[in-house]
Amino acid sequence: MKVNKNIAISESGFIFNPGTGDSFSTNAMGQEIIRMLNEGKTREEITDFILSRYEVEKGILEKDLGDYFFMLGTYHIVQNG
């Protein structure tokens, strides 16, 4: 999964898609995940990183991450591959 080129993300978590004009806000956790996607990390690596840093059950994390990735895809912020 890759963040689409040209997607702009500010330090405050404001995401702007210059191709569609859409804008979104994400919290610090969402920013962190997008940063890791930008670094080319896999879904498994992102899951492991979050599990190592936060107290969260793996099952809940995987479900929440799945929802988040689905939303990023729906809004054309990321693409598979």
Partner: protein, 347 residues
């Protein structure tokens, strides 16, 4: 230094705004020196008449239905006072008259303009847009011109509901059944004349381009925008510039294919599978043209320079993610001003 006297129409900065006020604002913001703006108004309550920081003096002009000779004579009378250098018409419905007299304005009065020729103007008319788009490889929703309701009813049943019912020059409504279509047909034919256009609905996001063609196929500038907030009249109340190379390429194809001379607005629907459908090509700048200025391309200034015969190179850069947010504002006007434009025909 000589003052550049620029006359323009479209001072109706109302809920369905004309482009005159933003064009005037663009000319003030640009690199032109000593600009004097002369407003040309059809109605005495066009708000631009009373914007004295933008419009130096305004004059009434006859409605387009009075014909091109009446327009020429009125412009000649105004020119005798104001020594107009350039005139910029900003309404679809008046363009025929201005195009008809543009050569005489130049040769007899020395007034420059930068307008499309008759063939270019006609090829982007709503009734033949689909045919023209097909030649250029630009997708256009199926559009049928109807000269009577019985003809329209037959066409509508072929297109299927819902469909768009559009006026010859302005206005468009979505009709969900034959009763609605009939009501809109009669409303639009009474307001704008025939034909009334029936158009297939294409679902997606509306994206528009404001552009300037040099008349030889070149595109001097183009800025794409997505409407972020749309009024009940379908007008953009807020918008944002986009980075969309494919959309710009299609816009350039349209400018090139029409040898467009002057400002224009291209209206597209971008479908969910990223197809672009051209729904209209308006023969003048849009009311949101100042967004182009704000993002780095001053199309009205470039038009004036082209009208004066200057060489203007293409503008290819603009700032992506620049927004406009429109607002309304109550001007306080002294009755004496209203009285003056009513009784003297100028203000």
């Amino acid at each position: 230094m000589k003052t550049l006297n620029i006359a323009l129409t479209g001072l109706n900065n109302i809920d369905s705004p004309g482009p005159g006020v933003p064009v005037a604002r663009a000319l003030r913001a640009g690199g032109l020196k000593h600009v004097r703006i002369i407003g040309l108004a059809y109605d005495n309550l066009e708000p631009g008449l009373y914007m004295h920081d933008l419009i130096d003096r305004s004059y009434q002009i006859p409605y387009p239905s009075a014909g091109s000779e009446a327009l020429f004579n009125r412009l000649k009378a105004i020119h005798d006072i104001e020594a107009i250098d350039v005139v910029i018409p900003n309404f679809d419905a008046e363009l025929h008259n201005f195009m008809r007299i543009s050569d005489r304005l130049k040769s007899e009065l020395g007034i420059h303009s930068f307008l499309p020729d008759h063939d270019s103007f006609e090829m982007r008319q709503k009734s033949v847009l689909a045919e023209w788009g097909e030649k250029l490889g630009i997708k256009v929703p199926t559009t049928k011109p109807a000269f009577s309701w019985s003809e329209a009813r037959q066409m509508a049943s072929e297109l299927g509901y819902p469909l768009m019912v559009k006026g010859k020059y302005y206005d468009a409504f979505t009709a969900h059944d034959a009763d609605q279509a009939a009501a809109y047909f009669y409303k639009l034919s009474a307001k704008w004349g025939l034909p009334v256009l029936l158009q297939q609905i294409v679902k997606g996001t509306e994206v528009n381009v404001t552009a300037l063609g040099d008349g030889t196929g070149g595109c001097i500038g183009a800025v794409p925008m997505r409407k972020m907030y749309i009024t009940d009249k379908g007008k953009a109340w807020a918008g944002i510039t986009l980075q969309d190379d494919r959309l710009l390429e299609i816009a350039r194809t349209a400018i090139n294919g029409s040898r467009w001379r002057g400002g224009c607005e291209l209206e597209f629907i971008k479908t969910h599978d990223d197809q672009y459908y051209l729904i209209e090509m308006n023969p003048r700048f849009p009311a949101w043209v100042y967004l182009a200025v704000g993002s780095g391309q001053n199309h009205p200034e470039a038009l004036v320079r082209l009208a004066l015969g200057e060489s203007v190179g293409p503008m290819t850069r603009y700032e992506v993610g620049k927004m406009f947010v429109r607002y309304s504002y109550d001007q306080i006007v002294d009755l004496k001003e209203y009285e003056h434009i009513n009784t003297h025909g100028w203000l």
